[in-house]
């Protein structure tokens, strides 16, 4: 009896890996073009923004805040960087830093509204999303900002690994850093503590407001990096950029086992694998030539099933 439960729990623990593996198996059988270096790398590379934004939103979810402005913050960052490079010939690194700084700043504004003024997070970030997009439209006039000068970044590849894009290392690096921050540092523990039970955290002397603000600001910063990455992967800034990524990212985070109520979650495997699941479903279906209309449908069904399994896991945990 006891050993059985233990095994069951183990299976639940690795459920994200199992889902990803199943996706790989199904699509590899479906098409011989799926499991190639090229497809795996490009899917991850093009999906870099999603992976990063999922990490960003995980930071906010860990402290129990649902931030819906993540997509817009990323877009703001990429947009600013693009404008600086195209119109002002700014050095690429500086432009990207400016973009990241902008997103960090917006994250700070969010934190003022949500943490200091205690407004409802979901709705404030919703409003923030609308405002950012509107301002960006007013500034760019919906023009496509094409950045040919960035293509070298996209093409930098490691031949030895079958054409591994070097910039993908940035994504891995950030996931790794997030993971270390969460699992190895005092700050990570405080994040979990605040998300787990804010009152108690306050009572034991944790400065909960500061931790929450920090989480939201970091969320902004990572969105900024994601925005720059998005500009690099697309090679231009288009007005539809990163639209509705907030929903995708939250879905990915939840798929990875992050709780919307705070206090539970991880970057690896959590967010990373969660995002990969969404990315490879889309890629596999496109390669197999399945109607693009079916993609959101299938994606939704898979998220639904994963959520159901997750709720079962939660129940099993509570009974144990």
């Amino acid at each position: 009896m006891k050993t059985n439960k233990f095994k069951l729990d183990n299976i639940f623990q690795y459920s994200t890996y199992i889902v990803l593996a199943l996706i790989f198996i199904v699509f590899t059988i479906g098409s011989d073009k799926f499991l190639t270096h090229k497809n795996v790398y490009t899917t991850m590379f093009n999906g870099g923004p999603l992976i990063l934004i999922t990490c960003a939103v995980t930071f906010s979810l860990l402290v129990g805040v649902i931030d819906l402005s993540v997509g817009a913050m990323g877009y703001a960052s990429g947009c600013l960087a693009g404008i600086l490079i195209k119109n002002y010939d700014a050095p690429i690194v500086l432009a990207f830093l400016a973009g990241i700084a902008l997103a960090t700043f917006i994250g700070w504004i969010n934190s003022v509204f949500i943490v200091k003024l205690k407004m409802n997070a979901m709705l404030v970030s919703m409003g923030m999303m609308l405002i950012i997009r509107a301002i960006a439209k007013i500034i760019t006039h919906d023009k496509t900002i094409s950045l040919f000068s960035l293509s070298f970044l996209r093409q930098a590849k490691i031949k030895a690994l079958g054409g591994f894009p070097i910039l993908l290392l940035v994504v891995f690096f950030i996931v790794l850093v997030c993971n270390i921050v969460l699992k190895q540092t005092p700050f990570g523990r405080k994040l979990l503590a605040v998300g787990s039970n804010e009152t108690v955290a306050k009572n034991v002397g944790i400065n909960t407001d500061r931790i929450k603000s920090a989480a939201l600001i970091i969320c902004g910063a990572i969105c900024g990096i994601a925005g720059c990455f998005w500009v690099i992967t697309l090679g231009s800034v288009v007005v539809t950029g990163l639209v509705s990524y907030e929903f995708l990212a939250i879905a990915a985070a939840v798929l990875g086992g992050t709780s919307l109520l705070g206090g539970r979650g991880s970057f690896y495997p959590g967010s990373f694998i969660g995002a990969l699941i969404l990315l490879f479903i889309a890629s596999g279906m496109a390669i197999m030539g399945i109607s693009p209309y079916a993609i959101p449908f299938v994606r939704g069904v898979i998220i639904f099933i994963a959520m159901y399994v997750d709720s079962l896991r939660h129940k099993a945990m509570m009974l144990a």
Binding site: M128, I131, A294, F297, V298, I303, Y308
Partner: protein, 323 residues
């Protein structure tokens, strides 16, 4: 005595008075300054345009009061409309019977989506945001798949003629008043408030909370379907793009501006509908003045943050008193 009555009414209906005040000021200023605003056509147009958002805000009011969340509204609206129009247009000759049964199917489909949401939330205890998020993608996907690549053909104009703006206005007034009464004047509505205030206590008090929550989500689905009925009348066909995901922002902010608390337990359908009027009104006014649409979005975003500011201020203010 009469004065006391008025005072009491004022205390119980602060939100209503506030909303009416805001709307009155807005209308007054606009009718003076904007040409063609206070015309019969424009006002009836505006009211009819409010209808879909008002219906969805009505639905989400029920959900928010139970501490839930339903972001699948617009997607459900599109999906049920597509199902109904696909049904209607599958006949060679379309008669009134087909149109009426089409409407029934639309409402049933909305209710069914709500039922699935409610089942997952009430019985399986899944997190509402996650459930409705997945429902949103599923419903949008379903609408695109069913709608087909080329889109569905149009339905006879008899439908649009029947659901003209006057019918729609009467419909929205009747249905939302009925639902407002359901919420405030009946035992079911009271149970909804009980659940929003403390679900555990409601269960202990002998209320079948699971069933109430299930019904609440079904109501929310049906309300989305009602919005679908109105929208199908506007374009005489149905499209997956009818319910853009961002529309849920309008819906939720309408409810929140109307004083419905996201923390549950508070709010009224009536006030949420007035909130919808404010949100849609901004759009209408912008069109009349001829302002660039960028500003419309900007202003909408600011209104949401502003409304949240008020509500958090209110909470802060009351918590000081209560402690």
């Amino acid at each position: 005595m009469v004065l006391d009555r008025i005072k009491f009414f004022g205390q119980r209906n602060k939100q209503l008075l506030g909303m009416l005040g805001a709307i009155a000021v807005m209308l007054l200023v606009l009718s003076i300054s904007v040409e063609n605003f206070m015309t019969w056509t424009n006002i009836t147009n505006l009211l009819a345009q409010v209808a879909p958002i008002a219906f969805m805000a009505t639905g989400i009011t029920f959900v928010l009061i139970t501490k839930g969340m339903d972001i699948s509204g617009p997607a459900v609206m599109a999906a049920s409309s597509v199902i109904a129009v696909a049904f209607i247009t599958s006949f060679k000759v379309i008669t009134a019977v087909h149109l009426i049964s089409g409407c029934m199917i639309l409402l049933l489909a909305g209710g069914f989506f709500g039922f699935i949401n409610g089942l997952a939330i009430a019985k399986l205890k899944m997190v509402p945001l996650v459930v409705t998020l997945s429902m949103m993608t599923v419903a949008t996907g379903l609408a695109t798949v069913l709608g087909g690549a080329r889109g569905l053909p149009t339905i006879p104009s008899a439908y649009a003629n029947f659901f003209n703006k006057y019918t729609v206005i009467v419909m929205v007034i009747l249905i939302s008043s009925a639902l407002d009464f359901l919420l405030t004047g009946t035992s079911f509505g009271r149970k909804v408030y009980y659940i929003g205030n403390k679900e555990e206590t409601a269960r202990i008090s002998g209320i079948n909370t699971d069933n109430v929550i299930l019904i609440v989500y079904i109501i929310c689905g049906i309300c989305a379907a009602l919005a679908g009925i109105v929208n199908v009348a506007i374009i005489s066909t149905a499209r997956a793009s009818m319910g853009p995901q961002s529309q849920i922002l309008d819906v939720v902010s309408a409810a929140v501006i109307g004083g419905v608390s996201v923390q549950g337990g508070k709010g009224r359908v009536r006030d949420a509908c007035l909130g919808a009027f404010l949100i849609v009104g901004v759009n209408n006014v912008m069109n009349l003045i001829g302002v660039s649409d960028y500003f419309t979005t900007l202003i909408k975003g600011s209104i949401i943050i502003f409304a949240m500011g008020i509500s958090s201020f209110r909470q802060f203010y009351f918590s000081r008193i209560r402690a």
